[in-house]
C-alpha cells in the first residue's frame, strides 16, 4: 500500500519516447523537453510542432485522450523556447454523494457529488540555452490549478433540503531547472531539479487544505551511453529513491525500438512499471508510440479510499499512484525547412608549417588538404574554407569542387594571412578551423579543428624556394642603402652605357655593402635562421644566407633581377651553400661585352623571356671587391653546372627571386 510519502517518479507523460525509455533526463532532445529536462530544448529543430495522445483508462473513462499540444522555436541557434498546452493533464477526484438524503416528505435528494477535487496543469513554458555545443541549461515553468467543488446542504424553514455547490480554487507556478552535458561522443548526462520553486497565486480555504496539491521537490541525475553502434543506454536516479533504466535501439535510420524499467524504493528496487515503445522518423516528421504497464494495480482502478488520498504528495499530475496502464502516441513535425548536411570532412592533413616570411605563398600554395565525402545521394559542389582567428581577417575559401555521391575527394585549401602574422617572433601554435560548405547554403555543413604551426619570422625551412621570401627589396632600409650607394657613384654611373648599367650598379652596391658588412660564420646563425636584410644591414653581417638575401634585396631594390644559386654538394651536403646570380640585362649576343671568357657568365632567360647574361656573385667574399666576388661566383657556378652538371643532377638550383609568386 502507499505510504503518505509515496508518490512515484518525477515523470511527465507527454513524450512516448520518454515513457518508453524511462530514463530520459539525459536523452531528452525535443519539444517535450520542457516537461522532462528543459535543457533538452536546445536540441530542437528550428520550429517544432507536436501532438500527443494516449489511450488509457482513467476514472472510468477509456478512449483516446489528448495529452499535449506543443510548439517550440529555436532562436539564434543557442536559445530555445517551448510552449505546451495540456488541456487534459488533470488529476480529478470525486467524492460521490455517499449518503442518501431524504426530506421529510420522503423525497430523495439527488446530489451529483459530495465533493470534487480537480488538479490541472494547463501550460508549460520552457526555455533552453546552449552554452556550448556540449552544455545546455534550461528552465521550465508549469502552472497548476486546483479546483474544489463542494456540495452543501441546508434545511430551509419548510424543512426542505436545499443543495448548493460552492467552488474554490487555488493556483501556483512550479519551476524546474535542468542541465544537459555531453561529456564526449558516447557519454552524456542530465541533471534535473524538479519543482525547485513554487510561486503561489491563490490558495484554498483552510478547511480544504487537505485537498491542496502539494508537489514534491526532487533532484534527478541521469546518464546516457551511445558508444555501441545503433544502441543508446540510459539510466537515472532521483532523490525519491526511484531508479529508471532503458534503451533505444535504432533498428534502421528511421525506426527505433525502446524499452524501460521503472523501479522504486532504492535499494530494495521494487518494480513499479515497465515500458515499451517504437519510433518512426521520416524527414521532418517523427511518430512515437509507447506502452507503460504498472506492476501493481493498487489505486489505479479509478477508486481510492479517502484515507489514502489524504496526505499524498505528487511530483507530477501525469505520473501518480493513480496513473493507469496506457498507450501513448505522438506526432512531431519540424516546420522549418530543415537542411541536411551534404558533406562531411573526414580528415584534414596539414602539408607543413607556416613560415611567417613565406606566409603569402599560402594564398596559392595549399596549406593543407581536407578529405571531404559527399554524404548526400546527389552530386554536390563543395568549397573548403580555412580560418585561424588571430592571424587571418576572414576565412579563405577555395573554388568549388564537384563530388559525386559517396565519393571522397581531397580538396587543397589555402590561407590568406593578415599583418598580424608578421609580428610573430617565435614559433606559435594556432587553432585553425576547416569548414566545408556544399551547394549554395550559407551555413557550414561541417567543421574540423586542426592545429597549424606558424614559424617565427626569422625561421627558415632550409628550402631555397623559401629563402626568396626573406628578400625585402621594398624595405625602407634596403631602399635607402642602395639608393645612397648609387647616389654616391652617380657621376661614374652616368658615364656607363645603359647596357652595362646593371653590372655597374651591382658592383657599386656590392662594394658599398662589402664595406659595411662582414661574413659571420656564427654557429648560432644556423641554416634554419635567416635575417631580414634590414637586420643584416643593422647588424652589419650575417652568414651566407643572410648576405645573399641582403645583397639580393639591395640589387632588386635597384631594379636588377636576381636569383639564388643553391648548391648542396652531393659529397658533402653539410657544405650547402647559397650565392647570387644577377641579370646584367645584356643580351646573349652581346655577352662578349661582359667578358671574353663565357665561363664568367651564364646565359639564362629573364622575366621577359629574353636570353640575357647573368653573373654569379659570391656574396660571402665581402672582403674582396666585386670582381673577386664575381670571379669566385663564376668559378663556383661553372664548376658546379658545367663540370659537375649540378643542375642536371639535381643538387644545384637556380631560383629567381621574382616579385611575383
Amino acid at each position: 500500500m502507499f505510504s503518505n510519502t509515496e508518490s512515484g517518479f518525477s515523470q511527465s507523460m507527454s513524450s512516448p519516447r520518454g515513457i518508453a525509455i524511462g530514463a530520459y533526463t539525459a536523452l531528452t532532445s525535443d519539444l517535450n523537453s520542457g516537461n522532462w529536462n528543459p535543457a533538452g530544448l536546445t536540441s530542437m529543430q528550428e520550429w517544432e510542432f507536436g501532438i500527443s495522445d494516449y489511450l488509457g483508462t482513467r476514472g472510468g473513462t477509456s478512449g483516446l485522450l489528448l495529452q499535449s499540444l506543443g510548439l517550440g522555436k529555436k532562436i539564434s541557434g543557442k536559445h530555445a523556447l517551448s510552449l505546451c498546452y495540456l488541456p487534459d493533464k488533470a488529476l480529478e477526484f470525486i467524492a460521490p454523494a455517499f449518503v442518501s438524503i431524504t426530506d421529510a416528505s420522503g423525497n430523495a435528494i439527488n446530489a451529483k457529488f459530495d465533493r470534487s477535487i480537480a488538479h490541472h496543469q494547463h501550460y508549460s513554458f520552457g526555455y533552453g540555452y546552449e552554452i556550448s555545443p556540449g552544455l545546455s541549461l534550461g528552465i521550465s515553468a508549469n502552472d497548476f490549478e486546483t479546483k474544489v467543488s463542494d456540495t452543501r446542504y441546508s434545511i430551509d424553514s419548510n424543512n426542505a433540503i436545499q443543495t448548493k455547490i460552492y467552488d474554490y480554487s487555488a493556483s501556483f507556478w512550479s519551476l524546474n531547472t535542468g542541465a544537459l552535458f555531453k561529456i564526449n561522443r558516447n557519454w552524456s548526462c542530465g541533471f534535473l531539479l524538479k519543482n525547485i520553486l513554487r510561486l503561489d497565486n491563490t490558495k484554498l480555504p483552510d478547511d480544504l487544505q487537505d485537498y491542496a496539491l502539494t508537489i514534491q521537490k526532487s533532484a534527478c541525475l541521469g546518464a546516457a551511453y551511445s558508444g555501441i553502434e545503433k544502441l543508446t543506454l540510459s539510466s537515472e536516479a532521483d532523490t525519491r529513491k526511484n531508479l529508471r533504466a532503458g534503451f533505444e535501439w535504432s533498428v534502421s535510420p528511421s525506426v527505433s525500438v525502446r524499452a524501460g524499467l521503472y523501479l522504486r524504493d532504492f535499494p530494495d528496487l521494487a518494480l513499479e512499471a515497465r515500458s515499451l515503445g517504437i519510433g518512426f522518423s521520416w524527414k521532418p516528421l517523427q511518430l512515437d508510440i509507447s506502452y507503460i504497464n504498472f506492476a501493481e494495480s493498487g489505486n489505479r482502478n479509478g477508486i481510492v479510499s479517502r484515507d489514502i488520498l489524504t496526505g499524498l504528495e505528487f511530483s507530477d499530475i501525469d505520473y501518480s499512484p493513480f496513473t493507469t496502464d496506457r498507450i501513448s502516441l505522438s506526432a512531431t513535425l519540424s516546420l522549418a525547412r530543415s537542411r541536411e548536411a551534404l558533406a562531411h570532412i573526414e580528415y584534414v592533413e596539414m602539408l607543413g608549417e607556416v613560415f611567417t616570411a613565406a606566409h603569402k605563398i599560402y594564398a596559392f600554395r595549399p596549406l593543407g588538404k581536407a578529405r571531404v565525402r559527399n554524404v548526400s545521394p546527389k552530386p554536390i559542389s563543395a568549397k573548403i574554407s580555412f580560418f585561424i582567428e588571430d592571424i587571418m581577417g576572414s576565412p579563405t575559401e577555395t573554388k568549388p569542387y564537384r563530388i559525386n555521391p559517396d565519393e571522397l575527394l581531397e580538396i587543397p585549401f589555402y590561407a590568406v594571412f593578415n599583418d598580424r602574422i608578421s609580428r610573430l617572433q617565435s614559433v606559435s601554435i594556432f587553432d585553425g578551423t576547416v569548414y566545408v560548405h556544399a551547394e549554395v547554403a550559407p551555413d557550414y555543413d561541417d567543421s574540423y579543428q586542426t592545429r597549424v604551426l606558424v614559424r617565427g619570422r626569422n625561421e627558415w625551412d632550409g628550402d631555397i624556394l623559401s629563402l626568396r621570401y626573406f628578400t625585402t627589396p621594398a624595405d625602407p632600409e634596403v631602399l635607402k642603402f642602395s639608393h645612397n650607394a648609387i647616389a654616391e657613384q652617380k657621376e661614374t654611373l652616368d658615364t656607363i652605357s645603359t647596357l652595362r648599367q646593371n653590372m655597374a650598379k651591382a658592383k657599386t652596391i656590392f662594394e658599398s655593402f662589402s664595406g659595411k658588412a662582414s661574413y659571420i660564420k656564427d654557429p648560432m646563425t644556423s641554416r634554419d635562421y635567416v635575417q631580414y636584410p634590414s637586420e643584416t644591414l643593422a647588424r652589419r653581417g650575417g652568414d651566407c644566407d643572410d648576405l645573399a638575401v641582403c645583397y639580393a634585396s639591395l640589387l632588386m631594390s635597384a631594379g636588377i633581377p636576381v636569383g639564388f644559386v643553391d648548391v648542396i654538394p652531393p659529397d658533402n651536403p653539410s657544405d650547402a651553400h647559397v650565392y647570387l646570380i644577377f641579370d646584367t640585362g645584356i643580351e646573349a649576343n652581346n655577352a662578349f661585352m661582359i667578358s671574353d671568357n663565357p665561363k664568367r657568365y651564364t646565359i639564362r632567360k629573364n622575366a621577359n623571356g629574353d636570353e640575357t647574361a647573368w653573373i654569379p656573385v659570391e656574396t660571402t667574399a665581402l672582403r674582396s671587391n666585386f670582381d673577386q666576388a664575381w670571379n669566385k661566383g663564376a668559378e663556383e657556378f661553372f664548376t658546379d653546372t658545367e663540370v659537375r652538371l649540378g643542375i642536371l643532377k639535381g643538387w644545384m638550383r637556380v631560383v629567381d627571386i621574382s616579385t611575383e609568386f
Binding site: I51, L66, N159, D307, A331
Partner: protein
C-alpha cells in the same frame, strides 16, 4: 517529390484530426471511496400535533408521531440521559391501541383517534399502569376522554438480548395476547469528539452496541408550549465501526444559528409488527435502547 509532399501532408492531417477528435473527450475522475457507515439521512417534519405528545415522558418520535403509520404500538425503551445537568436512566414502556373507527376531529382535521381497552397489560413481570387518556382540545378548550393508554416507568434494569414478552388479558374487542420478543442490544455512547457541534468539523461518536444499525435523531429545543425536543433529522448508521463520523455537510444542515443546543439520541432498536386478535390493524412492537446526549453549538 510530389509523393513525398502528399504523404507528409496526409500524415500531418492525420495527426491534426487526432487532435481534433480527442479534444472533446475528458478523462474521468477517480472516485474517492468514502468508508463512512452513514446510510441515509432524513429530515423530520416539525410535528404539527405536538400537543399530543405524551406528558412527562420524552420518547421522541416514537409515539406521538403524526404519521399514524401504526395504529397500535407496544413500546419498550431503556433510556439513558447524558445531559450537562442531568443524568438519568430508566425503563419506559407504553401501549396504545388506536381505534381507527373513532377519530377525533376538530375543524375538519383528524387530530387523533380514541384508543381501546386492552385489559391488563404486562411486560415481562411488570404490569403497566392503565390510564385514561385525556386529550385537551383547543378551540374551545375542552378535555375529552379518548380511551386508555398503558404506561410504565421503572428503574433501569435492562438486559439487552433478553427474552421478553408482552401479555394482555384483552377487553372488549381486543382479545388476549402474548407477544414474545428479544430485547434490543444495549446502546452506550462511549465518546463524542469534539464535545461540541461545529459545522467546520465532523462529529465522531463511538459507542458500544451490537445492533447492526443505529439510529441517530438530532433534535432541537421545542417551543414554549411543548417543552421538549423537536427532532430535526434522523440518521441511519450501519453499525460496522462501533461509531460514526457525522460529516460537516450534515452538521451544516442543523439550524445552529437559532439553537444553541441539540439533543442527539442514539438508538439501538428492534421492531416488528404483529397482530392481535380482535384488533383490525398491525401492531408495532418496538424495543429500543436509547442513549441521549446533549451537545452545545460552538460559538
Amino acid at each position: 517529390m510530389n509523393a513525398v509532399k502528399i504523404s507528409l501532408t496526409s500524415i500531418f492531417l492525420f495527426a491534426l484530426s487526432l487532435f481534433l477528435t480527442t479534444g472533446c473527450q475528458k478523462p474521468g475522475p477517480i472516485e474517492i471511496q468514502d468508508d463512512s457507515n452513514l446510510i441515509n439521512m432524513k429530515t423530520v417534519e416539525t410535528a404539527k400535533d405536538s400537543v399530543f405528545g405524551n406528558p412527562g415522558v420524552d420518547t421522541i418520535g416514537i409515539s406521538g408521531s403524526p404519521n399514524f403509520e401504526y395504529y397500535g404500538k407496544l413500546i419498550f425503551t431503556a433510556i439513558r440521559y447524558d445531559l450537562p445537568a442531568k443524568r438519568d436512566s430508566f425503563l419506559n414502556a407504553e401501549v396504545l391501541l388506536l381505534d381507527k373507527s373513532k377519530p377525533i376531529i376538530r375543524n375538519g382535521r383528524t387530530l387523533t383517534y380514541s384508543s381501546l381497552d386492552a385489559g391488563s397489560v404486562v411486560l415481562n413481570i411488570d404490569t403497566l399502569q392503565k390510564l385514561e387518556r385525556r386529550i385537551g382540545l383547543p378551540f374551545p378548550s375542552k378535555d375529552t376522554s379518548a380511551g386508555f393508554i398503558y404506561h410504565f416507568k421503572g428503574p433501569y434494569t435492562y438486559s439487552p438480548g433478553a427474552s421478553c414478552s408482552w401479555k394482555g388479558t384483552g377487553a372488549g374487542l381486543v382479545g388476549a395476547f402474548e407477544i414474545p420478543f428479544t430485547s434490543a442490544a444495549a446502546m452506550n455512547v462511549l465518546n463524542i469528539s469534539p464535545t461540541y457541534i461545529s459545522v467546520t468539523e465532523p462529529l465522531t461518536i463511538t459507542w458500544a452496541c451490537n445492533n447492526p444499525t443505529v439510529n441517530i435523531t438530532i433534535s432541537r429545543q421545542g417551543n414554549q408550549v411543548q417543552r421538549g425536543w423537536e427532532p430535526v433529522m434522523q440518521l441511519q448508521v450501519r453499525n460496522t465501526k462501533a461509531g460514526v463520523t457525522i460529516p460537516q455537510k450534515i452538521l451544516e444542515m442543523l439550524p445552529v444559528r437559532h439553537y444553541q443546543q441539540f439533543l442527539f439520541t442514539f438508538s439501538s432498536d428492534i421492531r416488528f409488527t404483529t397482530r392481535v386478535s380482535g384488533y383490525p390493524d398491525d401492531i408495532m412492537v418496538h424495543c429500543a435502547s436509547i442513549h441521549n446526549v446533549l451537545l452545545s453549538v460552538r460559538p
